[in-house]
Symmetry: D2
Subunit: 364 residues, 4 copies
């Protein structure tokens, strides 16, 4: 519960944005999984800043494994990763520490922790907490890839600008292309337009949001559990740990609301001796269990709440109405960065579900 995710492969998250470090313990990984530092660094970099369009804060974000790893392989014991907060500047926040930044957790943290929390930069609620998730999730994601299970995410839309759809006939190719890209958009022109939009938001001292679409290919049918450990339940639980995620949908998702059953149902067919569905409105999941089609889901990322514009808010200590102009560092969008976190969490959830039936030994 709380800061721990997973049934068999569990991740426990800790740290504050401007404390000494952020980190995670991943338990349940079998011995002998390779720690591919290049792979992990690539993912960590995706989560970090893309110069012109992201925050100026530039932690090096080097994951430091202090337990459970020896000679580049997991030992079978809990793997702990620490990521130092080298660039912490609590002073930036001191001035505003009793002022609730709208859209942030400052006020709710204050109510819950009664002033004992480290409020600087969001503290435990900061997006920085997703860095260790990417580190440990990437270990698992790489192990899944080695078994033919590929995960990828693109920016389906950013402030209304829409990327092209996946080429479902050559999905793996699209996923590999995406995974090589720092800015996860399939169509180059749309990528350009999205980046322009982010820059213009920055100029406006404002921010924008968008929708990420994630696909898992190579997943066999039969993964997931009924009721509360369905593929949908477990992925949703994980995704909502990202502060900016405010919605998730599988397959046709909210478009189902206007469909009829005859249009919504995915007809099964035997093709080349294998059972497939002709459409994939259900996003590869029936009754919470994978049906062998690509698993498809979307998450909505709200516009970054830290904006430079003048905002109305309160000082929760003096209980006065105040105006706030956030200086410090902030992103005009995090959609493109959140993608690395979504991929990492997806890997953690899927591996965990597979291991229920196949055991953690399967992952080695």
């Amino acid at each position: 519960m709380r800061n721990t995710l997973g049934n068999l492969i569990t991740v426990t998250l800790f740290g504050e944005s401007h404390g000494e470090c952020v980190g995670a313990v991943i338990d349940g990984l079998p011995a002998g999984i390779k720690i591919d530092m290049d792979y992990i660094s690539r993912e960590m970099n995706k989560r970090r800043s893309v110069s012109a369009i992201s925050t100026a804060r530039s932690e090096e974000d080097i994951p430091h494994f202090v337990s459970g790893v020896k000679d580049g392989f997991t030992e079978g014991t809990p793997v702990t990763v620490l990521i130092e907060n080298t660039d912490a500047k609590p002073a930036d926040y001191e001035r505003i520490k009793s002022i609730a930044r709208p859209g942030h957790a400052d006020y709710t943290a204050q109510v819950k922790y009664r002033g004992y929390q480290d409020a600087s930069g969001g503290g435990h609620f900061s997006g920085r907490l997703t860095a260790p998730l990417v580190a440990v999730g990437s270990i698992v994601r790489k192990a899944l890839e080695d078994k033919g299970i590929l995960i990828g995410t693109h920016i389906d839309s950013l402030n209304g600008i829409e990327d092209y759809d996946f080429n479902w006939d050559d999905l793996e190719n699209d996923l590999r292309t995406l995974n090589d890209r720092q800015f996860a958009v399939l169509n180059d022109e749309m990528a350009e337009r999205m980046m322009e939009r982010i820059k213009s938001a920055r100029e406006d001292k404002d921010s924008v949001g968008g929708v990420l679409e994630t696909v898992i290919s190579g997943l066999p049918a039969g993964i997931g559990e009924p009721s509360f450990s369905s593929v949908e339940s477990e992925l949703a639980r994980a995704m909502f740990s990202i502060g900016a995620v405010k919605g998730i949908q599988f397959g046709a998702g909210f478009r189902f609301a206007k469909m009829t059953g005859s249009g919504a149902n995915d007809p099964f067919r035997v093709v080349d001796g294998k059972i497939v569905t002709l459409t994939n409105n259900n996003g590869g999941v029936n009754g919470g269990i994978t049906n062998g089609m690509p698993v498809v889901f979307s998450t909505v990322i709200k516009p970054t709440p830290s904006i430079g514009k003048l905002q109305e808010t309160v000082n929760f200590e003096t209980m006065e109405n105040v105006e706030l102009e956030i200086k410090g560092r902030h992103d005009p969008a995090i959609v493109h960065r959140a993608r690395a976190v979504v991929d990492a969490l997806t890997a953690l959830v899927i591996a965990d579900l597979i291991c229920i039936e196949k055991g953690t030994g399967w992952l080695a």
Copy 2:
């Protein structure tokens, strides 16, 4: 995990649609909670059929408490509810037991359980499994009401027909009105049109879906935990246990994708000595923790997959393509019925989260 929900107040679900019974064990309820059978029956009835627009199957659905209840009060020990399957007609399904009904879990269950599963009527994946959830959830929902926490759901839209919005200035009144209604729509004319739409779907041997909007009022700020037990994570995990739910969003949800930060952020203000937000795009949740505003979320309910129309599918035993015309009993819509399940699950999740800090004793 799996068929068990909750951290402190846990619900374990069991049963098959055409087996002997469906049921649930709820553990963690303190002693001394009143079992209000009228309240529970009212909710059970909402989940059941509304004559003209629902399935002809009419189980009496009487919840039978076989443990943990004495003289109308919880004993403090696990409460087990059984609901007999009095109207089971496995024969209806015998003919099609190797034929995967599109949109259902027949095929995925077959892969997972290798033919050992009870396939009739969806077996463990049947909507009937939500009946015990309503029974145990209603105990908790009533206990929350007695403490001023009110939960209510309306059909936000059905196949494109939209209900009116809540009157946010007199929310509790709307919630009470809704809770008295069998068909959860605020506006009578829209209710009429929705029911007409359901009837016409039935005539077409087809079905329709829609969106449910749920509101929790009276919830104090500070409820929910960081990371994976956020209000959003826990509610989402619970909701996706309903087979027909394919998406969930909080507050503005997917509409955030086209908003800017300056429009999306909810300004805090001190009003009458209390901190509120002027808008509620975040649905009452910041950083996964309640901020004292009404918690608002929507779930999309896909069109009932059981339709009378001829459908293409497969016989997964003979591995042949076949055509299927589902006879048996089925609903042209379950949006209006799912609402009782959503309310029950919401109560279970919220009570569980409150008890983390306040203890299970709080609920008594």
Copy 3:
């Protein structure tokens, strides 16, 4: 937690001694495990009365599977077993319901549940709750046997009368002999003397306790997890759910206190190309993980607290000192009956631990 045991294969226990039924839900069993009713009945009978030396209460204790079982095999979904309380006589207890029976949970239940509990016959704390444990545990124990993992328990001592030691050179033979016996003693003469001792305790309106020694053979090395899911941690947690168990020890257990390291350490040796230990003071477990030797542990069963002798106690409602002479039904010993429960719980724990690495699919 609480009434739920296990990580992957979970058992949730419910019911009150004089309520409608007692029962359990076991979740996580893969589809296709045979339900051997003869095997289960044999174990249920061991837990029940042995005429002359046990309670006169004689429930038939027929386990009734209401979910998760079809045509004699598990379906893969939660298996629920109900056992009716056909012989409940709450009236026997009505007279003494505010009087705390010494050694029982009457007073602690009263404090915890504030009078809402069903006090008759111990309610939820009754030994009857172990009946469903035997039912579901026997399913798993049989499945383990089919894979060469044999569990058996004998009465190591009863009120000081000691059974012979296992013949470690032909352990499986001893285990099979024991498992065929209703009264779990290896040596016939000692069995006779123990039964005499139980009868004489009955004549004295008193009761006796003893020690059970349990062995698991055929368990490979490498089972168990470090820290809190060690074989010892998990078995101990399970055993202490039996009300009468007040101690557990592995291998030499408390005898280690007087040993030296040179005498206590079990020397490893290669014998016939296999690593074994020459002694087994550690009971087959090093660092919480099996080493391939038989796992050996003992549990102490306290004398049955229900005795006919006059006892001093209190009426916790009137807060007066009173004298109590328990009429009703009671056992002069439960050591011989507890053995079936210990075997069942052992199977549940061991299977659960194996499945962490091998997955639940392994059990099918």
Copy 4:
């Protein structure tokens, strides 16, 4: 599961003896608990070496809190403690890394982790892992003390030398005396004799074991849950995470085996308007729930397996029988050191159980 303990207040343990550090994450602590570094250091020192009678290895063992603590108070978020392995000398172990030290987890770790584990000094199975347990447990133990719940442990016996019994009429005094002592023995003469015995074991290149008796005073009646979260189940699960613990018993424990019910039952009496028991054979626990009397339990600590004497064992890589003379550092006894770990774990378990009913907020 595995390396995580607790229901509401959870501790996740990580690290290897000769890796970079050992540590723990404790989640669920409410904001505002004081971190009393003097208290923690005192307990850490008890766990460390007592010059003449313990290992020469002398880590400074300074607990370094890297998350969840600000200005000397818990923040409400996960608290992570790291303890550096400043004195690690893997080279000492290199020579013997394929040789199974008898009584240790070297061989079982090899089977489980297939050579990927860090074998030096026991790796993850080292007693060093108990250092972070003492650090986080001491935070909780101090918080319990501030609420009148006192925990203390003495060496009940060491290699047959027995300490005096507690003075039950002035228990708190004894507990405070013990808690001030580095060597936890009530009677000075017995302490002297035990220390002599430890020294003579060292001279013999051998080691000795013993029994620890732990008492909790000030605990109200009604703590603990039925079935698998009984006070006994949860304490036992925690204690067996200590590698050297091979048995646990409550109250009269294994002595119950020779008692009769009339002698074993603790008569309830009303004394000064309060319900007490005249004896405490049940160790303050009836049916798994506290009855208001002191909770009393004993754990047996086996002789340290690392001894200087020549031992027979195997090289598990070459599969040869070998002789082993352990050089390196080792203790002739750890009974006196384990006491700090038992106290810390007891605090964690008891606080966790209290919070189920009272919520984590209770602890602040």
